[in-house]
Symmetry: C2
Subunit: 365 residues, 2 copies
């Protein structure tokens, strides 16, 4: 359909292709990449292989990738590898650590390209990049959602001094088909599918926590990377399926403190299959109890003025975890130590980030 005088093209333009890595945790062959080929092929993939390192994970031809298995993680991090979870998708955060790029997009290997209501394929990566390059508005709610989007703006009564927004650190995308429910909800509503396409991106207001899902997530690694630690989950731990939640709560408290924004909404991906609710219940069991104390903890967490970098914020938070959550279960003492190890590993591979609080992204309004 494209006329000779236009720039339109069947292939999507790979935005920020030298500044973004795609991180994929997996235990299986990555055939799901075939569907993403037109969107992901120009980018570098970081594949974090979970489970048995002797198993071969097949990656379709033509993709530019690095693959790290448990042996690689142990070799690269040495004793600090203890902070990286095993047999849980929490291991994905190792990919954030070894990336050298400014932006990360992470996606699960059971997520496929979704279609919008017109039947057009959704370029999830492109929408995440748009979300990250445009500012956020955490200080006042805009009723027409993202004011920077085409066809929208700030509505009457929105203070002019807040219209520049703040740099966006995180873009949280959603899922059509299988919704991200916990085991009890999965058990109660085994047939529920998400069919509602909500055409909106919005900033989660300052001071408000949300459940961050790691299935379809992008972030500015330079702004917030050291806070994107997915915790200790899976093998040898009393909890699973709270990796992304933990990262989301820590990250949100730190973004609120440092003045960064977090968005949720578009883009959608197609989530193909529900995980086993009985297995999930076993993993989530402790988390379901613990989150009742974790939420008030994060809602009331205060970071001091001295916390001027993400690392300093994160270390301060780890101290508060130790002091206030250790009484729930000794697991949190171990987790607090792992948070410190994570930051040490981050600094070892990426520098101490003393300047990271001065970094801002480059809002394209």
């Amino acid at each position: 359909m494209a006329g000779g005088a236009t720039f339109s093209d069947a292939k999507p333009t790979p935005i920020l292709k030298d500044e973004l890595d795609i991180v994929i945790p997996t235990i299986r062959n990555l055939d799901f990449l075939e569907m993403w080929r037109p969107y992901f092929e120009p980018y570098h993939l970081i594949i974090v292989q979970d489970g048995d390192p002797s198993r071969t994970v097949r990656v379709p031809d033509g993709f530019d990738y690095e693959l790290f298995n448990r042996n690689d993680i142990n070799r690269i991090l040495g004793p600090k590898a203890s902070c990286i979870s095993f047999k849980d998708s929490a291991c994905r955060c190792f990919g954030y650590l070894v990336s050298k790029k400014k932006y990360i997009f992470t996606i699960d290997d059971d997520c496929f390209v979704a279609k919008d209501p017109s039947g057009k394929e959704i370029n999830a990566l492109e929408q995440h990049v748009k979300n990250l390059l445009n500012p956020s508005t955490p200080l006042f709610f805009n009723t027409l959602y993202d004011p920077y989007r085409e066809g929208a703006d700030f509505v009457r009564g929105y203070p002019f001094s807040l219209r520049e927004g703040v740099p966006t650190a995180v873009s949280h995308g959603l899922w059509l088909n299988i919704p991200d429910y916990d085991a009890p909800t999965q058990l109660a509503k085994p047939l529920e599918r998400n069919t509602r396409f909500v055409d909106a991106v919005l900033t989660i207001p300052k001071g408000t926590l949300f459940p961050m899902c790691g299935m379809n997530l992008a972030f500015n690694r330079q702004l917030i990377g050291p806070a994107m630690y997915f915790g200790l989950m899976g093998d040898g731990q009393p909890i699973g399926r709270y990796d992304d939640m933990w990262a989301g709560w820590c990250m949100k408290v730190i973004c609120d403190h440092l003045g960064y924004g977090v968005k949720t909404g578009l883009p959608y991906i197609w989530h193909s299959k529900a995980s086993n609710p009985f297995v999930n219940l076993k993993k989530e069991y402790n988390g379901i109890f613990w989150q009742e104390e974790l939420i008030p903890f994060f809602q009331s967490a205060v970071l001091t003025k001295e916390c001027t970098t993400v690392q300093k914020c994160y270390l301060e938070l780890s101290k508060q975890v130790k002091a206030k959550l250790g009484k729930i279960d000794p697991y949190f003492l171990k987790l607090a130590d792992a948070m410190v190890t994570w930051v040490e590993a981050w600094d070892e591979l990426n520098g101490s980030g003393e300047n990271s609080s001065n970094l801002t992204n480059d809002p394209e309004k």
Copy 2:
């Protein structure tokens, strides 16, 4: 199409028809009601005629209505009529005062029935009632939006203790076609139209302020009525077009304090014509400056434990307005007094509301 054995009918079912009044401020004939006839005819209308009371406002046949002009307002309220604005749609709050119903829906006379993307007419009133009868979730953000909606639920990581939600006090609907922009934005984007149908209802989180527009708004009068004062605007006042904003900021602070919820999103109405941006600029001029101080004031306003009813909250807020905003302009001293007069008028017509904090709506999950 309806079979004999079904209850389906071309006419919408009038939900809560004996418990809801529709309040319409106007200066002209209400021909716009023709389009709303199937939706509004079963309900009682309270028409607040602004401007010259000797002018006749024609109401299409078949509607059940009361009409109040300025003479009526003066007669009913006596000296307290001073708190009701003149020559500004802020006068609509007089309708809230004289209603005897539990719920209010207020709509502007340039708003018509919108269509959803499938071309189906949107029953705005029905959606508002749904929003008001279902609980709100201000304490934690749900990424799939309204968890009580069909096909949705609370996502993984949402604390179970918060899933009952809180009573909903306010339902803020949106507008297709002409967006609710301020004069500077209208001037900069004269041709912008809102064409994006966002299929979502969401709770504005606790602690977050938003710009509440009075064009398409419903609320639980029993829960929050005395806080829905639209201030002193228009004739004789240095400001206009901030009536709904003022009410929204006061209302939100009080809802947050008393534990009530505020929703925004669906339903859409079709907003037919843009008001004159030059006239609007004149009205808004002071407000554009003042809101820069009003927002921090409301963001930091704290109500004490003694504020157990909406009236007590509102009187406490009026004191803080006088003490902290009086220095911006003497207008705020007058406004603070009018806030007190409004509550006195409310109590005179409706009782003191000593029990109103015990009222809850009846969530239909």
